[in-house]
């Protein structure tokens, strides 16, 4: 079942999609509340480790160090992985990645692939590619399976179906898996999914996983799940495909300790995921294919303002803390990765399609403070705004308004005159005129009551009175 293209940017931007989500205020509050709980669980976990801030700093430095020697570490990783029996492939872009994966399956006559979570494969639209070529792809993470059956993209990188209520899932499972009509108990629904997906695991001859971390020192892949689907999908089928972005490599096994301590705590408020699996070579009698993907990452690495974003360990903490994401949902972003990090990455990929994303933020800075690898997200969002407005996407009317404002504010006389004018308008214009269509602030908010005199006028009076 292929993914809908409904949230792929297009003519409307974040603001319009957000407004549609917010229009159902009950739902927006429910979604907001669910993610706030996850944010608070993270807080409790962070508070348990006196060394939490030191770990964040260390993680950021390990990533910065690795970035500067990425080619070297990837070569080391390739050598070590190959020595342990893995086949390493390189893909410039999404299409090449998809061709490689399909090629491996086609060569072996494989037409059923079980997949555990990989945001990279979302980015590459792998599922659609394979399905168009006759391969059935089954997403095995429960949240991902839910959205796959619903024909939607995931709305959160860790909690793919967070936007769906249990009744909706019950309805979906009734239609697609034959659960009882009206049943919505999570335990019951999960139990049916368990049996349904077990059949797929048993029938599949290939399993694809993402890669949370790739270890250069030992050529190993680390995959973290709570369900065990990455392990099920790679111990039953003989062929294991692993898709990884170039930025996933870390230098040594010991460096994993820092990231493993930070990841689950940041993502879901757990001390560790149920399964933290370390793959070194294929299983006996099997094959392991690692596909290393660039797809714009080397370009990002070359940009001083945004290369930090490559440190991202895909925990989703920035989404959980973002007051805008919580109230507007991941689909409002129209990009495989939503939320603050998505808004930083997306314009790099397609400035025109994702023009609205860096503006889908009040720049509150909360994301910076929860990011386990200390990406200065809100600063990068601001930088994206600057870059987008300097480029062809810069908006005409807004630019004109800013030019005018700069002109007026550059002269004390003009500024004071403009201020007098605004106060006059606010004090004397009839309400009907003041709150007409041109006043966008006034749609949901009262304008401030204007004083007769400005501060500087009152100050002058005061000084005159004294002197």
């Amino acid at each position: 079942m292929s993914r809908g293209r409904g949230s792929a940017g297009g003519t409307t931007g974040h603001a319009e999609r957000a407004a549609a989500f917010v229009a159902d205020e009950d739902r927006a509050h429910w979604h907001d509340g669910a993610l706030w709980v996850v944010r608070r669980k993270r807080d409790l976990m962070a508070a348990e480790l006196p060394e939490w801030e030191a770990l964040r700093e260390r993680a950021a430095r390990i990533k910065a160090h690795t970035r500067a020697r990425l080619a070297e570490y990837l070569e080391q990783f390739e050598g070590e992985a190959t020595a342990r029996g893995a086949r390493v492939h390189w893909a410039r872009d999404a299409e090449e990645h998809n061709r490689i994966v399909h090629g491996i399956l086609a060569e072996r006559g494989i037409s059923l692939l079980v997949k555990s979570k990989s945001m990279l494969t979302e980015e590459c639209h792998l599922n659609a590619w394979l399905e168009a070529r006759g391969v059935e792809v089954v997403d095995t993470d429960l949240g991902e399976r839910i959205v796959q059956l619903a024909g939607e993209p995931p709305s959160h990188i860790v909690l793919p179906a967070i936007h769906k209520r249990r009744e909706e899932i019950g309805e979906l499972f009734h239609r697609t898996l034959g659960t009882e009509a009206g049943a919505s108990d999570p335990g019951y629904l999960t139990g049916v999914a368990r049996r349904h997906l077990r059949e797929k695991f048993l029938a599949a001859r290939a399993g694809l996983t993402g890669v949370n971390f790739a270890v250069a020192e030992t050529g190993g892949l680390v995959v973290c799940t709570n369900e065990g689907n990455a392990d099920m999908g790679t111990s039953l089928p003989a062929v294991h495909l692993a898709s990884m972005g170039v930025e996933k490599v870390v230098p040594r096994l010991e460096d994993l300790s820092v990231f493993v301590r930070l990841l689950a705590r940041s993502a879901t408020g757990q001390p560790i995921t149920t399964y933290t699996s370390h793959f070194h070579g294929p299983r006996p009698g099997g094959e392991l294919h690692v596909v290393i993907v660039d797809n714009g990452r080397s370009r990002l690495l070359a940009e001083p303002a945004f290369r930090d974003a490559l440190a991202c360990i895909r925990c989703g903490a920035c989404m959980n803390t973002c007051p805008v994401f919580r109230r507007t949902g991941g689909h409002s972003y129209g990009f495989a990765i939503p939320g603050p990090i998505g808004a930083v990455l997306a314009p790099g990929r397609d400035p025109r399609a994702h023009l609205s994303l860096p503006f889908a933020s009040s720049l509150c800075g909360s994301c910076d403070d929860v990011c386990p690898v200390k990406i200065p997200l809100h600063e990068e969002l601001l930088e994206r705004r600057r870059q987008l407005l300097a480029g062809p996407g810069g908006r005409g009317a807004k630019r004109l308004a800013m030019r005018l404002a700069r002109f007026v504010l550059g002269s004390r006389a003009l500024y004071e005159a403009a201020g007098r004018g605004v106060r006059l308008l606010l004090r004397h214009a009839p309400r009907r005129l003041l709150y007409s269509r041109w006043n966008r602030w006034g749609r949901q908010r009262e304008l401030p009551a204007a004083p007769e005199k400005s501060f500087r006028q009152a100050w002058r009076d005061r000084e005159r009175g004294r002197g």
Binding site: A34, V37, V38, L49, P50, E51, L55, R61, I62, H65, A68, A71, L74, W90, L142, G143, I146, L159, I162, R165, R166, P186, L189, T190, R194, R198, F201, T218, N226, E227, G228, N229, D231, T234, S235, L236, V246, L253, E254, S257, V258, R261, P271, I272, T273, T274, Y275, T276, S277, H278, F279, H280, G281, P282, R283, I292, D294, S298, L301, R307
Partner: protein
């Protein structure tokens, strides 16, 4: 230029500024005065159970009790002294045949007090997937093999050659439906850690 060369060249050309790898060991503030007690809390927090056994007879008895409680009919036991089991991994050619195993009793190398995880290297297991396919899981860990945190844990992990290992923290679980925790997503519905010796 092939993709490999092109990618590596582009990464080098990016000229990201050099930064040293942190040289000092990571700050590790957690030192538990009673690691066993802390381990028990951590295992319970991830949905597992911790049992203590001192001598071999206790271990065999606990495992037998577990088999009984779970009404386990097909049992894999890869821990000497914990019981016999009636499914021998070494005699099975195809791991698919392990579907339907009720209980797997496997040897854990050590446990981590900070998060209740057990390190399970699978070199000695003919079919490594048994830890996730079995309906229920029991991990036998030597009692003296408890480390405080993941930094100490990774000092005990080696991969000189091919292999697989997993940090296992409790039973398989998911909260993908309205954040409601459900135990037993794809893998085992229960995880019992037997701290032995």
């Amino acid at each position: 230029m092939g993709s490999r060369a092109e990618i590596l060249s582009a990464l080098r050309a990016a000229r990201a500024p050099a930064e040293p790898l942190p040289a000092d060991p990571p700050v590790a503030a957690l030192r538990y005065p009673d690691p066993v007690s802390r381990l028990g809390e951590a295992i319970r927090a991830v949905g597992g159970t911790l049992l203590r056994t001192a001598v071999a007879a206790d271990l065999a008895r606990e495992v037998a009790g577990l088999i009984d409680r779970l009404q386990a009919r097909r049992v894999v036991c890869e821990v000497p002294g914990a019981g016999e089991g009636n499914v021998r991994l070494a005699e099975i050619a195809d791991p698919h045949a392990l579907d339907g195993v009720d209980l797997a009793v496997l040897p854990g190398a050590f446990a981590v007090a900070e998060n209740g995880a057990v390190w399970l290297p699978t070199g000695g297991l003919t079919h490594r997937g048994v830890f996730v396919i079995a309906e229920h899981l029991a991990l036998v860990v030597p009692a003296e093999a408890i480390v405080n945190d993941m930094h100490e844990a990774y000092r005990r992990v080696r991969f000189d050659g091919p292999g697989f290992g997993v940090f296992l923290a409790g039973p398989s679980k998911t909260a993908d439906i309205e954040q409601a925790l459900v135990i037993g997503a794809h893998g085992p519905r229960s995880c019992t850690v037997l701290l032995h010796g």
